[in-house]
């Protein structure tokens, strides 16, 4: 396959915190429509990688391209978000003092300058979209509730809902199922699978059952590098992977 | 520096003399009798005789000769008509005084007050005055204390007549101290400049004078270069003029060199005040992340503690400061612990609320001292050993309180570093600062550590207050005027970094001092503020930012 059709193209990315290399010449490619799982022991650099992609952390060297042309390293966080990269954080962060529906409204794709938002009104299509998402994330009855009143799992769902509202081309999902019941985990898995295809999805997760249930391709990170890449069985049987997990 | 070293022993000597002054007096009773007899002769002597008596007195070696002669020079030497006893009077007679307080010439103690018509002044004329002055200068020139001799030489240099020049020549032959010797040589060279026309002698004098830093000397040399409208020079010899010009240039160069040093010293001392006021904040804000707007008021408490300590020991002003330092540490520290336990503890993790609440505390503390001590400024006395100026040379001097502030700052800073580095408490403070929950998990009682840390920072603020009491007015507003500065120093240096506070404070002090001559104090202050505002915006985490993810998350 040619490099041209990659949606995310990371080459030789190095991030250093006072000499400590959180990412060490990491190279990673993501195809359009792919659902990719990233696993790795704690401190492997998974979250740091997402930080770089979303513009929060600046690398020392390397390159990160989105849709072949956009240089992520020279863009600000809002620009990256507007370009079509959405992120769900490891710790669920929703706007506690806004209602569920307001949270979704803010995530809505569209122009986001001050003056635009000052005069923005929801169109009928947008309201429908919100209703759809509310249905998907199962918060339809809670639409007017303050986000702070939601349970941990519901907040996770709300954040996923916000991701959906953003209609990103690439979704970065950091540990989505932490704190969810088995049924919810199942639902999340189905949701992510359904998203793949139209969107590209990058999932970081420690829960191996969950990973197995959705993964087509799995990348194992270790000490800021790609250790192994392949399908789930391949990865799980690789002695190096067993080493890093058990040897920590 | 040598004078600085001399200074402390001198202070001790003074104390010792005070304590032991009753002893030696009786041993001197025989010479006292002689002394009194000579003084008695003054009553009826002619002016010629008086000159002789002055000479005799000068040679007698009695300790009070100087005092008596000085008094005479100031028209304060009298005898009492009814018993013909000679006295000094405390202050010269005014037109309307009817009685004068007299002082015994031997004991130098007050001997009551005597009606003015019972007193006769011992007369003096101009010739005698000159003799007295010279004798006095001679006294000082042969004083055992080199610094007194040096001052005497400088005094003599101001009127270089024949007698004085002769005095200097005489002293030159016996003087051992190189500094005094140099000064005498300067004086003699100046004298040559005054009346010499022999180019050789002049050149030699100029060679000596080029080592001086004195502006008077420079101006005298400059005078030689003067050109009158008709084209003639004050000094006809071109070679001498060239030498003088070169000497003037040398003097100017050295003076500007020393003025750079002086500016830096002033800057450092200014900076050390900033460091001192900020260092407590570096602990509470930098290490704990607590914004304590009452920090300035804790300094104020320290300053008032100094005041109270001085009230409590009015006879020991000299040592009161040494008592005040630990006392203010304790007072401000306890106040700090109290604030932490009652207000700040409730508000951890809410820095902006902490800021508001502690501002409220600062208002309460201000009003508290206003209620107790009134709104007026209290005067805190400066002990002798801290007043005055250290004159390194003609171009470089620094006041002792600046000097001691610098030393004090360094001591406090080093002590604090040592506490943080080498004590159990310091270890726990650092542990809690870096990772609270981890520290808790390891059995450190973080609540306890918080209180202690805050107490430590507050205590240091209190000690800063002692220094401030020596530098500014002690009043209820003392704290307010320093709070902004201290925050800026901490933010500038980088929160959580004591060395950053040190370097930040010092550089702010120096920049301030450099700008001041051009811009004036207020404008310099504004420049520094604006520069800092811009700097903080360039580097929001200060000069030495704290690294690490935890630090980033804790960003307030």
């Amino acid at each position: 396959m040619s490099t041209n059709d990659k949606i995310l193209h990371i080459e030789q990315l190095t991030v250093s915190f006072d000499g400590f290399r959180a990412l060490d010449e990491l190279t990673l490619h993501v195809e359009p429509g792919e659902l990719r799982c990233i696993i790795g022991p704690n401190g492997a650099g998974k979250t740091t990688m997402m930080d770089v992609i979303t513009g929060k952390t600046r690398p020392v060297s390397g390159s990160a391209k989105f849709c072949q042309r956009l240089n992520l390293l020279s863009m600000s966080e809002p620009e990256i978000a507007q370009a079509g990269i959405g992120r769900k954080f490891q710790k669920p962060t929703v706007f506690e003092n806004l209602t569920v529906i307001e949270n979704l409204e803010l995530a809505l794709a569209g122009k986001k300058s001050f003056l635009r938002t000052l005069f923005a009104r929801l169109t009928a299509a947008q309201e429908r979209k919100i209703d759809d998402v509310l249905e998907i994330i199962g918060l339809a009855e809670h639409r007017e509730a303050l986000a702070s009143s939601l349970s941990h799992g519901q907040k996770q769902w709300l954040e996923i809902g916000m991701l959906l509202m953003q209609e990103p081309r690439l979704l970065l999902v950091d540990e989505p199922v932490a704190g969810m019941t088995p049924q919810e985990i199942e639902r999340t898995a189905r949701l992510l699978e359904s998203l793949a295809g139209e969107h590209s999805v990058l999932v970081v997760e420690h829960d191996m059952d969950f990973v197995r249930s959705i993964a087509r391709r799995v990348t194992v990170l270790h000490e800021g590098r790609v250790l192994v890449e392949g399908d789930m069985d391949q990865v799980q049987n690789d002695p190096r992977v067993q080493d890093v997990y058990l040897g920590v | 520096m040598s004078k600085f070293l001399l200074r402390v022993p001198l202070w001790i000597v003074v104390l010792l003399v005070c304590v032991g002054s009753s002893g030696p007096l009786c041993a001197q009773s025989s010479s006292d009798a002689n002394f009194l007899e000579k003084l008695g002769e003054l009553r009826n002597a002619t002016y010629a005789d008086k000159a002789k008596i002055v000479d005799d007195l000068g040679k007698s070696g009695h300790p009070n000769v100087q005092t008596v002669l000085t008094a005479w020079l100031q028209d304060r030497l009298y005898f009492r008509n009814n018993d013909q006893k000679v006295f000094l009077v405390k202050s010269a007679a005014q037109g309307d005084s009817s009685a004068l307080e007299v002082i015994d010439p031997v004991t130098l103690k007050s001997a009551g007050s005597v009606p003015i018509d019972n007193l006769t002044e011992i007369g003096i004329n101009n010739h005698l005055r000159r003799i007295l002055e010279t004798t006095l200068a001679g006294f000082q020139l042969s004083s055992p204390d080199a610094s007194v001799r040096l001052d005497a030489v400088r005094e003599v240099e101001k009127s270089l007549d024949d007698v004085n020049v002769a005095l200097l020549r005489e002293r030159m032959t016996v003087e051992k101290n190189s500094k005094v010797k140099r000064e005498i040589a300067m004086g003699l060279a100046l004298a040559t400049l005054n009346d010499g026309s022999d180019p050789k002698a002049l050149l030699k004098a100029i060679a000596t004078l080029r080592g001086s830093l004195n502006t008077d000397v420079r101006n005298r040399l400059q005078d030689l270069l003067e050109q009158s409208p008709d084209g003639t020079y004050a000094e006809p010899d071109a070679q001498v003029r060239a030498a003088a010009a070169a000497a003037v240039a040398t003097i100017n160069r050295w003076r500007s060199f020393y003025s750079v040093i002086e500016t830096s010293l002033f800057g450092l001392s200014q900076g050390s005040v900033l460091v001192l006021i900020a260092i407590g904040l570096a602990i509470t804000f930098g290490v704990m992340g607590v914004i304590n707007m009452a920090h300035g008021e804790l300094m104020m408490l320290g300053a008032y503690t100094t005041y109270v300590v001085q009230l409590a020991m009015p006879r020991h002003i000299e040592s009161s400061i040494l008592v005040a330092i630990p006392a203010s540490f304790v007072v401000a520290g306890l106040a700090g612990v109290l604030i932490e336990r009652t207000v700040i503890r409730v508000l951890y993790g809410r820095p902006l609320e902490t800021l508001l609440a502690t501002f409220g505390v600062s208002l309460i503390l201000q009003q508290l001292v206003r209620s107790i001590f009134s709104a007026l400024n209290r005067s805190v006395e400066t002990p002798n050993w801290m007043s005055g100026t250290l004159q390194v040379n003609d171009a470089l001097s620094i006041t002792y309180n600046r000097l001691y502030t610098m030393i004090f700052t360094v001591i406090v800073f080093v002590a604090l570093l040592a506490v943080l580095k080498f004590t159990r408490m310091g270890l726990e403070i650092r542990a809690v600062a870096q990772n609270r929950s981890m520290a808790q998990a390891m059995g450190i009682r973080s609540e306890w550590v918080d209180a202690l840390t805050f107490g430590l920072g507050s205590g240091i603020a209190g000690m800063a207050g002692v220094a401030l009491s020596q530098l500014t007015n002690v009043g209820p507003n003392l704290g307010q005027s320093y709070i902004i500065d201290s925050f800026l120093v901490v933010v500038f240096g980088g929160v959580g970094n004591l060395w950053g506070t040190m370097i930040g404070g010092m550089s702010m002090g120096i920049v301030d001092e450099i700008l001041e001559p051009f811009a004036g104090a207020v404008l310099a202050k504004i420049f520094v503020l604006v520069a800092l505002i811009l700097f903080i915006q360039r580097r929001p985490r200060g000069l030495f930012p704290q690294a690490g993810r935890v630090a980033e998350e804790q960003q307030l």
Binding site: M162 | Y348, L363, S437, R538
Partner: protein, 395 residues
Amino acid sequence: MTGHTSWINLRKDLGGKWLLAMLAVVVVVVPILNQAVPASSSLHLGPYGLTIIGKYLCYAMLAMSMDLIWGYCGLMSLGHAAFFALGGYAMGMYLMREIGPRGVYGNPILPDFMVFLNWKKLPWFWYGFNHFGFALFMMALVPALLGLAFGLFAFRSRVSGVYFAIITQALTYALMLAFFRNNTGFGGNNGFTDFKDILGFDLHSDRVHVVLLVITAVALAASYLACKVIVESRAGRVMRAIRDAENRTRFLGYPVESFKLWVFVFAAIIAGIAGGLYVPQVGIINPSEFSPMNSIEVVIWVAVGGRGTLYGAVVGAVLVNYAQTYFTSSLPEVWLYALGMLFVLVTIFLPRGIIGLMPERIGTKGRISLPSQNNTEVQKNEYERQDTPYRTVDS
């Protein structure tokens, strides 16, 4: 659903309705009490009362603008009163020029203090201030420009939270020092006073004060509505999002810095207008208006009233200032204790202010939910790692 209803939904805004009603009462009753009620009656409102009420309304406006940036956008400025003072100075400059040849020195162009300082020429920045319209324009423009310049720097480099508080405080302190200087050209520490008239109307007459007061009340109502439009719009929700989770908002694609800048500048303008209305009513403006203490007091007004409600700021400003007027005249000793305790108690026990004590339905959505009692739960911790239990590759 907030989206497609009218711009301001006053129907649900009980507090806002109260505020507007009260202002309407002021507009109607004050002129009657002053003009229609005879001076002998105990109901008569004298010049002192007029000034006090006018002053409170100006402070209320200042507090409201503070609430907009702090309560809604999380920007706690400790230099907000600087904008108020700048607006006041702009108006003061007009009033000084308006004195004309009636000054002590009788110079038709130069204000007295310039003559006193031996200045020969009007400094360039005084040009135009003889025109009322120009002064009005500057009253808004100067604070806006300062807010813009400062905000541009501060927000771009992401100075926020406590750091923002500290440098705003340094800013107003620097301004205070500058205005204290005679050379700056604003009357040094005496500032401006002894105004004669405004647009030809005598500033010593009650009637003029009544008019000024009515204008202030209307301006306050207008700013309330303007602020309300903003906070009820989607932009307002973004502001609250920024307040609660700034970085999260960024990752949703909102240019956080530009939002802050707009709001900051808008608040600066309102503060400037409040200052401009304040000066002709109290008859003096001097550099102490820039003192950091003033700004921090504004913060406490808002905190006392209850932030994030707009009308709470008005309540707080009026109550605290009334208390101040009362205490400083009858129990001056106690005032600082009371104010100090107010700071402490309100932040500890009344984080939502007085409005927070009211029944729920009066509050609006802007209200801040209490930060959780648990110390470690800070609001802005979206990056904080969640303590995920360690799992291995099993089975």
